[in-house]
C-alpha cells in the first residue's frame, strides 16, 4: 500500500472501503446520472438562448397585411398611423416585387406575380420594451383600411414560451430526480459499507475514535467515487455536444451551444459544476448517513 502511504492523512482510510464491490459500480451509476443532468443542463442553456433570440427578433417584428385593392392614399394613412403609435420604431411598405420574391419559393418564378391579387405587406418593427395596446391599434387600422391584418408574433411566442417553461420544469425535475437517485444509492452503499466493516468500526470505537473520524473515511471514499463518476459522466456529455453540435448546425437548428461549440464557457462551467456537485452530494450523503447510523451503535 505504497500509494496509500503517500496520500495526505485526510485521505487515508483505515477501513478497506476501496476494496468494496460498491466502489466498482457506484462511479458508473453516478456517471450516468451526471451525464443525464449535464445533458439536461445543456438543453436548458440551449432553450434559454433560443428563447432569448426569438424574444429579440420575434417580439420586435410585426407584419401588417393590407388587402390588394387598397388605394395608395389609404396605405399612406395606415403607415402614418403606425408610425405615430408609441413603441413602433419603423414601418416599411414592401414593394410588390419584394412580396413576390417572398412568395417565389411557393409559386415559382414562372407565375406572373403582377397578375395576382397579392396583399401589400408592411414590415413593422417595435420596441420590445414598450407595451403596445394591440387591440386599440388593430381597431384603429381597421377603421382606415377594412380587412387590414396585424400579425402579432407575441401571441404565438407566448405559447412557445409556456411550452419552453414546461420543458424547463421537466428538465429541472429530472435533475432533482437524478440527485435524489445519487443520494439513495450513496445511502445504501454507505449502509452496506457500515455493515461489512462493522468489526473494524467497533474496533475503532474501542480505540476511542469519534464518530466523525469514522464518518470521514466514508465521506472521503464517497467523494472519490462521486468525482470519478462526475468525470466520466461529464466527459460523455462533452462528447455528446461535440458529436451533436455540428449535426445541429447541418440542419440549421438554432442551437447556440453548437454555434459557440466547445468554446462556450457555460458548457465548461456546467460540466465542472455537475461533476463537483456529484462528488459533493455523494460526500455529504455518506457523512450524514454514517453519522446517523453510528449514533445508533453502542
Amino acid at each position: 500500500m505504497i500509494g496509500a502511504a503517500l496520500l495526505p492523512r485526510q485521505f487515508r482510510l483505515d477501513l478497506p472501503l476501496r476494496r468494496d464491490a460498491s466502489g466498482r459500480f457506484l462511479p458508473w451509476i453516478i456517471a450516468l446520472m451526471v451525464y443525464l443532468a449535464a445533458v439536461g443542463g445543456i438543453a436548458l442553456i440551449w432553450l434559454g438562448d433560443t428563447l432569448n433570440q426569438w424574444d429579440e427578433s420575434l417580439t420586435s417584428k410585426l407584419t401588417l397585411q393590407i388587402p390588394a385593392d387598397t388605394s395608395a392614399a389609404r396605405i399612406d394613412m395606415v403607415l402614418g398611423a403606425l408610425r405615430q403609435t408609441k413603441g413602433v420604431v419603423w414601418a416599411y411598405l414592401l414593394a410588390p416585387e419584394e412580396t413576390a420574391k417572398l412568395l417565389e419559393p411557393w409559386l415559382g418564378s414562372s407565375v406572373s406575380i403582377a397578375t395576382l391579387p397579392l396583399p401589400r405587406l408592411v414590415d413593422v418593427r417595435v420596441d420590445p420594451h414598450v407595451a403596445i395596446d394591440y387591440a386599440t391599434l388593430r381597431q384603429q387600422l381597421d377603421t382606415i383600411v377594412q380587412g387590414a391584418q396585424l400579425d402579432n408574433n407575441g401571441t404565438w411566442l407566448a405559447g412557445v414560451r409556456e411550452f419552453a417553461l414546461r420543458v424547463e420544469g421537466v428538465i429541472t425535475a429530472g435533475v432533482l430526480a437524478v440527485t435524489a437517485l445519487i443520494v439513495t444509492i450513496v445511502v445504501f452503499t454507505a449502509r452496506i459499507g457500515l455493515a461489512i466493516h462493522r468489526t473494524i468500526i467497533e474496533l475503532l470505537h474501542l480505540l476511542g475514535a469519534q464518530d466523525s473520524y469514522i464518518a470521514r473515511q466514508f465521506q472521503v471514499h464517497a467523494l472519490g467515487l462521486g468525482l470519478r463518476g462526475g468525470v466520466i459522466g461529464g466527459t460523455a456529455a462533452f462528447a455528446t455536444v461535440v458529436v451533436l453540435g455540428p449535426a445541429a448546425h447541418m440542419f440549421a437548428l438554432p442551437v447556440p451551444i453548437a454555434a459557440y461549440g466547445i468554446f462556450d464557457w457555460r458548457l465548461w462551467l456546467l460540466l465542472i459544476v455537475t461533476g463537483l456537485a456529484a462528488g459533493g452530494v455523494a460526500m455529504l450523503t455518506a457523512r450524514i448517513t454514517v453519522l446517523r447510523q453510528l449514533a445508533r451503535m453502542p
Binding site: D14, P16, T199, L204, L207, G208, A209, Q210, D211
Partner: protein
C-alpha cells in the same frame, strides 16, 4: 482510576452474568483478574473498557461517572485505555506499522510523530523487520506483540489484556508479564485477565477472582495479595520487586528486550495530541 460499585450485568431476561461487583483499581496498580472460562471475566473487562454497559451499578473511569457521560466523553475515556484483545483484533488489510499507528491517528497525532515513534516501539517489541508485514503474515506470537504495541503506543492510563497468556507456553507468558510490568512501571495501571490461577499466583500482584459472576478470594493464590483490591482500594504492591523473580526467561524466541538492558519502552503517546 477505575471504580465499580454493585455492578450487575444480564442479557435480556437471563440470569445475571455478573452480580454485585465492587472493585477499585488504583493508579499505577497491577492486577490479575482470574476465574475459570465463563466466569464473566471478559464481560467485566468489556464493562471497564466501555464496550458493554452494566445492567445496574456504578462505573467510574478516571473520576468520570460513565453512565452520565455522553458519547464523545466515552470515546475520550476509551482513548486513555489500551486493550489487548484475546483475539488481538488486528486490522487485516493494514500493515503492522499502520495497525500500531491506529490509536495515534485516532487521537490526531502528527504523521511525523507516527513515523518516528511507531517503528521505535515495534523495534522495542522485536518487530523492527516486520513493519510492512500484514497480520496474516505473522506468527501468533508476533501478532500478539503487535496487539500489545497498539495497546501501549499512546502510553495509556489503563492497560487491559484479556487472556494474553492463554495459548502460549510458560516462558513466553512470563515474558509477556515482564512487558506489562515495564509498562506498569511507567505509571500505567495494568489489568490482566487469565483463567490460569496458578500462573497468576506466581506473581505477587493483586488478584481479583471471579467465580460464577461474583468477586471472591482466589482459591489457589497466595493469601496476602489475593483479593486485596476487593471492595476498596489499597496502595499498589509495586511491580519493581518482580525483577527478582526467578522465572525462566527465554531470550531466543520472543525476547523483545533491547540487548542493552532493561530500557523503558518509548512512549510515543506522550507527545500526541488529544483530539476531541
Amino acid at each position: 482510576m477505575v471504580r465499580l460499585e454493585n455492578v450487575g450485568k444480564r442479557y435480556g431476561t437471563d440470569a445475571e452474568i455478573l452480580h454485585d461487583i465492587s472493585l477499585t483499581l488504583d493508579p499505577g496498580g497491577f492486577y490479575f483478574l482470574t476465574g475459570v472460562s465463563g466466569a464473566g471475566k471478559t464481560t467485566l473487562l468489556k464493562i471497564i473498557y466501555l464496550a458493554e454497559t452494566p445492567s445496574r451499578g456504578l462505573v467510574s473511569l478516571f473520576d468520570t461517572d460513565v453512565s452520565a457521560a455522553d458519547r464523545a466523553t466515552h470515546n475520550a475515556l476509551r482513548r486513555r485505555i489500551g486493550i489487548v484483545f484475546q483475539d488481538f483484533r488486528l486490522v487485516e488489510h493494514l500493515t503492522v506499522r499502520d495497525n500500531v499507528a491506529l490509536p495515534l491517528r485516532i487521537a490526531g497525532a502528527a504523521e511525523r510523530e507516527i513515523r518516528e515513534n511507531v517503528p521505535e516501539l515495534l523495534g522495542w517489541m522485536g518487530l523492527e523487520d516486520k513493519l510492512n508485514y500484514h497480520p496474516a503474515q505473522l506468527s501468533g506470537g508476533e501478532q500478539q506483540r503487535v496487539a500489545i504495541a497498539r495497546a501501549i503506543v499512546r502510553r495509556p492510563d489503563l492497560l487491559i489484556a484479556d487472556e494474553p497468556t492463554g495459548n502460549i507456553d510458560d516462558e513466553i507468558a512470563m515474558l509477556l508479564v515482564r512487558i506489562f510490568e515495564r509498562i506498569n512501571r511507567l505509571g500505567t495501571t495494568v489489568l490482566i485477565a487469565t483463567h490460569d490461577v496458578a500462573f497468576a499466583s506466581r506473581f505477587s500482584h493483586r488478584h481479583l477472582h471471579l467465580d460464577r459472576g461474583g468477586l471472591s478470594a482466589p482459591k489457589t493464590a497466595p493469601g496476602a495479595p489475593a483479593a486485596a483490591a476487593l471492595g476498596g482500594s489499597s496502595p499498589s504492591s509495586g511491580a519493581a520487586n518482580l525483577d527478582q523473580d526467578s522465572a525462566p526467561r527465554d531470550r531466543a524466541e520472543a525476547e523483545p528486550e533491547a540487548p542493552a538492558g532493561p530500557a523503558d519502552p518509548p512512549a510515543p503517546g506522550d507527545a500526541s495530541a488529544e483530539a476531541q
